[in-house]
């Protein structure tokens, strides 16, 4: 298992390198790192900065220089904020990880419950209703869900009840001056996590239902029932246990994409995470942040994909990693 993990990581190094090179070339072609300075029109300053950043060299050389800096921990300075890029990304990581944690927690629990219910009660009214809801969830643009939730759960209740504060907040993760796990945090967290959960549950429950149906129609389930194992136990211990493997794989793969995919949710709820950092940097043409950002997200995806494969092998011992 360990040797498999190491081999997989080694194998993905060239992919990450090529991806980062392609992105480097594309971003360098699209944005001028010195755009801010060019307004000052002092050729001496521009020439000095350009030499300091190595912009006077060829693009492959610049890439090598940049890559060396990344490996040595010198990620450069943001042209937008003037802060070190590494600490900016580290700071943005924390809110995003919180969103991913809570979003995954609730989405996985709800999606599993829905999957089991839908598969066991296949073609009943409940199954049809849940299936219909998941179709709706898949067809809804996530940002629209977010805006509607703000309207229905925060703004409308405040207006109709005449409250000073909305029952649920929709800006940031904490009120000014507050930190830590408390009611204030929960009131900030409900809407973004709900937005995430709706989209994730919609697609995962479809997948989980199919996996459960697959397991329920298998020979070992029939055998277990024939031997007299209670139905509930067969569903939980045999069918669910076996359908977890494909389910967890899908969850891990989707979770990987959340690092970047939270762009929309963080934008709606003004959460200073990775998605916001990306958008702000993109609008400012801040290539010094964009490139390391892409690299960090790509590495996160590679690691999550590896976790997906390994957890599959752990949950389904019939699979041998090789």
């Amino acid at each position: 298992m360990v040797s498999y993990a190491v081999r997989r990581l080694v194998y993905s190094v060239p992919i990450v390198l090529v991806a980062s090179f392609v992105l480097f070339v594309a971003v360098r072609a699209a944005f001028d790192p010195l755009a801010k300075l060019r307004q000052s029109r002092d050729p001496a300053v521009i020439a000095r900065e350009s030499a300091r950043l190595g912009l006077d060299r060829s693009v492959p050389e610049q890439y090598l220089l940049w890559g060396k800096g990344i490996l040595q921990g010198e990620w450069g300075t943001s042209s937008r904020t003037g802060q070190p890029v590494r600490s900016m990304i580290a700071e943005a990581m924390w809110p995003t990880l919180q969103l991913i944690f809570w979003g995954l927690l609730f989405a996985v629990l709800i999606a599993l419950a829905v999957s089991v219910y839908s598969a066991v009660r296949r073609y009943t009214v409940g199954d049809h209703v849940l299936t219909g809801l998941s179709y709706l969830g898949i067809a809804l643009p996530a940002f629209w869900v977010g805006l509607i939730l703000i309207q229905l759960l925060a703004v409308a209740p405040r207006q109709s009840l005449g409250l000073e504060d909305p029952p649920l907040y929709f800006i940031g993760l904490h009120s000014p001056g507050w930190t830590g796990l408390n009611l204030d945090y929960v009131r900030h967290l409900v809407l973004p996590v709900l937005t995430l959960t709706i989209t994730l549950v919609a697609s995962w429950s479809r997948f989980g239902r199919a996996a459960m149906l697959d397991a329920l129609s298998s020979d070992y389930v029939r055998t277990a029932r024939a031997k007299g194992v209670p139905r509930r136990q067969v569903v939980i211990r045999h069918a669910l246990r076996n359908s977890l493997a494909p389910f967890v794989t899908v969850v891990a793969l989707d979770a990987a994409l959340l690092f970047g995919g939270l762009v929309v949710t963080e934008q709606i709820y003004s959460i200073p995470g990775m998605g916001r950092l990306f958008l702000d940097s993109l609008l400012a043409g801040d290539v010094f942040v964009l490139l390391p950002w892409m690299l960090v997200v790509a590495v996160a995806v590679v690691v999550c994909n590896l976790i997906a494969d390994i957890s599959y092998a752990i949950l389904d011992p019939r699979v041998r990693l090789s």
């Binding site: 944005f31 179709y135 898949i138 643009p141 703000i150 703004v155 199919a210 929309v264």
Partner: protein
């Protein structure tokens, strides 16, 4: 195809009967049995007629303002209300639908064509060609789509053509993987060997013998990719990188209404989203129906 093989070759030229489909009529019958797919087709066709025929169908001309009227909630005169410039919102939505639907359909067609060709070539040719194409699809898997799209559109500008090309450039990898894996198994089948033995050329085998067997996955992919492209375009518009005013799409109408949360005009936020929802839902149902009709053995998710 060589000319020397004569009659045998002519016989082999008959398109291979696909595994479980068999005839356009039975495909249609299976599709029609899927009630939701039928409903989806009707709704989508209705939307397309209304949007592309908006010049004749819409109650008001595009962009016709009535500043004295201003914003009004839905009423008999304006079914979906009017915006702050007094424009009839239903008409605006129908005109905007032209761009949204066109982007969705064209992206799906381009992405599916490119993906099918590259996937089929990779699977059939094997070797280094396969390796190169598949490593490229690996690249796309590790970068977050919405970020790369925003980056590309910010760099290249957001004209509808650019949006279509950029979305298609990122959207072809999924179908390429599916087609490749199908071709890998199909090329070992006897009917491909038979075609090869009597001298059919590689393009001929790909087009006449393999392509018909891929009809199911291709059709399903076109429908799902259309739905995905419409949602992605609206998301990009919301972030400010999609269709730019004065051009309108459902996405940028939504993003303009985003600031109306908590105001009396919040109804303007509901309708563009409902149009997207209706369209995507219909297309997804059609996709399900197509899968059942063209590929009855496929597992239903």
């Amino acid at each position: 195809m060589s000319t020397s093989t004569g009659i045998v070759a002519a016989a082999a030229d008959q398109p291979t009967p696909t595994v479980a489909t068999g005839g356009a009529r039975s495909i249609l019958r299976r599709f029609a049995r899927h009630r939701l797919a039928l409903l989806g087709t009707v709704v989508l066709l209705g939307l397309m007629v209304a949007c592309y025929g908006a010049i004749w169908i819409a109650p008001s001309p595009q962009g016709a303002q009535d500043l004295v009227l201003g914003p009004t909630p839905p009423s008999g005169a304006h079914l979906l209300g009017t915006d702050d410039l007094g424009r009839d919102f239903l008409s605006e939505l129908l005109f905007a639908g032209r761009i949204s639907l066109t982007i969705g359909l064209v992206v799906a067609l381009i992405a599916t064509t490119v993906g099918t060709v590259l996937g089929a070539v990779a699977g059939y040719a094997g070797g280094w060609v396969d390796e190169v194409i598949m490593r490229i699809t690996d690249l796309f898997l590790i970068v977050p789509g919405i970020a790369v799209l925003a980056l590309a559109l910010r760099g290249l500008g957001s004209s509808p053509t650019t949006i279509v090309l950029v979305l298609a450039a990122l959207g072809w990898t999924y179908i390429a993987r599916v087609v490749r894996s199908q071709v890998l198994s199909l090329r070992e089948k006897e009917f491909v060997d038979a075609a090869r033995v009597i001298g059919a050329s590689t393009p001929r085998i790909l087009l006449r013998h393999l392509l018909p067997n891929l009809a199911g996955v291709i059709a399903v992919n076109i429908s799902l990719a259309t739905a995905a492209a419409i949602i992605i375009e609206s998301t990009l518009s919301f972030l400010g990188f999609g269709v730019q005013p004065p051009r309108t799409s459902w996405g940028n109408m939504l993003s303009q209404a985003a600031g109306l949360v908590g105001t009396d005009q919040v109804y303007l936020l509901y309708f563009p989203g409902l149009f997207i929802l209706l369209t995507v839902l219909s297309i997804n149902f059609i996709g399900d129906g197509l899968r059942d009709a063209l590929d009855p053995q496929a597992k239903q998710l």
